[in-house]
Symmetry: C2
Subunit: 412 residues, 2 copies
Amino acid sequence: MRGAVGTDDNIQKTAVSISARGKALPASPIRKLIPLAEQAKARGIKIYHLNIGQPDIETPPEFWAAVKNYSNKVLAYGNSQGMADYLKKLSHYYHRRGLDIDPDNIIVTTGGSEAIIFAMTIICEPGDELLVFEPFYTNYNGFAVQAGIKLVPLITRAEDGFHLPSESAIEKVITARTRGILYCNPNNPTGTIYTDLELEMLRRIVLKHDLFLLADEVYREFVYEGKHKSIMSLEGLSDRAIMLDSISKRFSACGARVGNLVTRNRDVYQASLYLGQARLCSPTLEQVGAAAAYDLDDSYFMKTIDEYRRRRDVVYKGLMQIPGTVCINPGGAFYIMAKLPINDAEKFASFLLTEFQLNGKTVMIAPGPGFYATPGLGQKECRIAYVLNTDDLKDAMLLLKAGVDAYNSKGK
Amino acid sequence: MRGAVGTDDNIQKTAVSISARGKALPASPIRKLIPLAEQAKARGIKIYHLNIGQPDIETPPEFWAAVKNYSNKVLAYGNSQGMADYLKKLSHYYHRRGLDIDPDNIIVTTGGSEAIIFAMTIICEPGDELLVFEPFYTNYNGFAVQAGIKLVPLITRAEDGFHLPSESAIEKVITARTRGILYCNPNNPTGTIYTDLELEMLRRIVLKHDLFLLADEVYREFVYEGKHKSIMSLEGLSDRAIMLDSISKRFSACGARVGNLVTRNRDVYQASLYLGQARLCSPTLEQVGAAAAYDLDDSYFMKTIDEYRRRRDVVYKGLMQIPGTVCINPGGAFYIMAKLPINDAEKFASFLLTEFQLNGKTVMIAPGPGFYATPGLGQKECRIAYVLNTDDLKDAMLLLKAGVDAYNSKGK
């Protein structure tokens, strides 16, 4: 509430208040268990972190070498659209992926996060709607509040491997304020890779209803089954497709904050450039490192992907040892969203950190509800990020099984 | 215009349209002369860049050493509020400046830009108003469009050294939608340092009218005359003061994209943290470099400031050689906003790049209108950034004088 204009000497007592959207900003559901984890660590408990997508894979030496060999004496502003050399490298990389994307289709952003905020701001007025498929990457919520837009969630289910709803179910929620559909493929948090038929359906819908289609493809390389198809290869969407990308997972460089937006729509490009000019540029040094990383050939990814595939198999096998668990072995990313035989994932996650331990060890998971916008959904689900080595993961999955037993035997 | 929902096979012809705010984003007025500059360079003309605040001063070796000695193998996410070590260094630095600011009053942001966007988003609903003093830092416009807020400009004049309007003039434009006052001190683009009396007036106004007070203090150290007083030292504003800061100019590290927001208001802090959590973190490596730079003692700044003072004196002296020029020797930052004896600064800036040269050289300036929101203002003004060495600046000022003569003798 805003106070009245002060007219007496007591004016210092009037409390000034932040905006309603400032108050609506969500706390990170992944991060709110952190204090419990810190207390557990203080008690000497070892925690396997399955709760956050911070890979343990080393950032490529080529990245570090480029950063450390940078010889300019002044760390100057780069171009607002990204450094010219880096844009060329990106374009090259996309061409290697069979995507005809030129440097002037790309705006380098500060992480994939900024690419998403730019896209939301550019295609939506405040109050406009974007369709998303829940469970979804939880930070879309914060970006939506910041951009003043509304996310309209469509439910996908563990039993269906979190594949998309039917065309009619999607069309039913389109309103006069719907401006686009945002999907993540390979998906965070579910690991699902959408089929060509699903992408064809989205294509039909956005053409029919005059919408933008936004694809978060930061996990493009992390594919273990089937084949990933990029939004930029869909026909007839040159005006409508916006791809959101990042080096964070691709090169295990989350702290670099180097992402990018890709579009063939010149208005979207121009508006992104203007947003980019306002904030001047993305980090210079990290673009230099990223440019070197994109020189790596695909053997780099093959090695990484083999490692992640082994990890996924360990986690999936471990989950299948917990009777009553529902999940379909996902094709990509490095997450599994599993429905566990528990009544409340948030209580269960807290229990694992506060009451449970086995041989001085426990696990930390991301509770399902944080990935849903619809209240009451995801209560039995948790997201497991397989970003540890396979030995640790094996141990962690045994702990998870024991944790489920202990939680249920306490009658929680 | 949004197309109607397609119902026939022609749906691919319906053009999808970006949002009104996407269309309202301003082009950078500083950057739009760049193509003319590139053409001049292609003709072999040497250009002295007085148009952009990219310092030539070397980034401290301590910054580079910290970055290059960083030994982690994984470039991981940092904390959303900033790396713990860096927050401590910042708090230390502020205490050295006589400001009682603790690590938990600080949120590290991706450049000062993000700090400003966070503050606008947190204190304003879409459509709310912030008072600013024009001429102002031109990118405030882009941030305001992104945040969906309205900047209400109050005019300051070259003849008054761009000091603030009267208390009654400021109060006159406050409406029910006014949420705060944003000022920059030392000022970009004018170089003005506000007096204690001016700051006391702003303090009275925000208390009386229940507003936030936002201060962009990225040029804090760049003071050549008088004394800079920080917003964080004003009494009774613990709830209302938000300071916006950055290492870009302080350590000549514009490409690092490391800024921060400072507040003692817990709601503003919390909302900033949530915005920070959504985008995960600011660049990790550059915070490591910045932390090392803040270990430098004030002899570093004294050397830098002596150099800038000499530069300022060269530019001011040069301007005084151009009859009819109006400007008061500014006390801080590294800009001078001068009213020149010309009819149109934008035409003059183009003229310098397209028609003028002397001994194969010319100068590039930032035309005044880009720093004003009110149409028609600043037409005779230009901003000069003194970010070149004194020899180059002497030459540049002679060229500027010759440029004015040539422009006027052509009867433009």
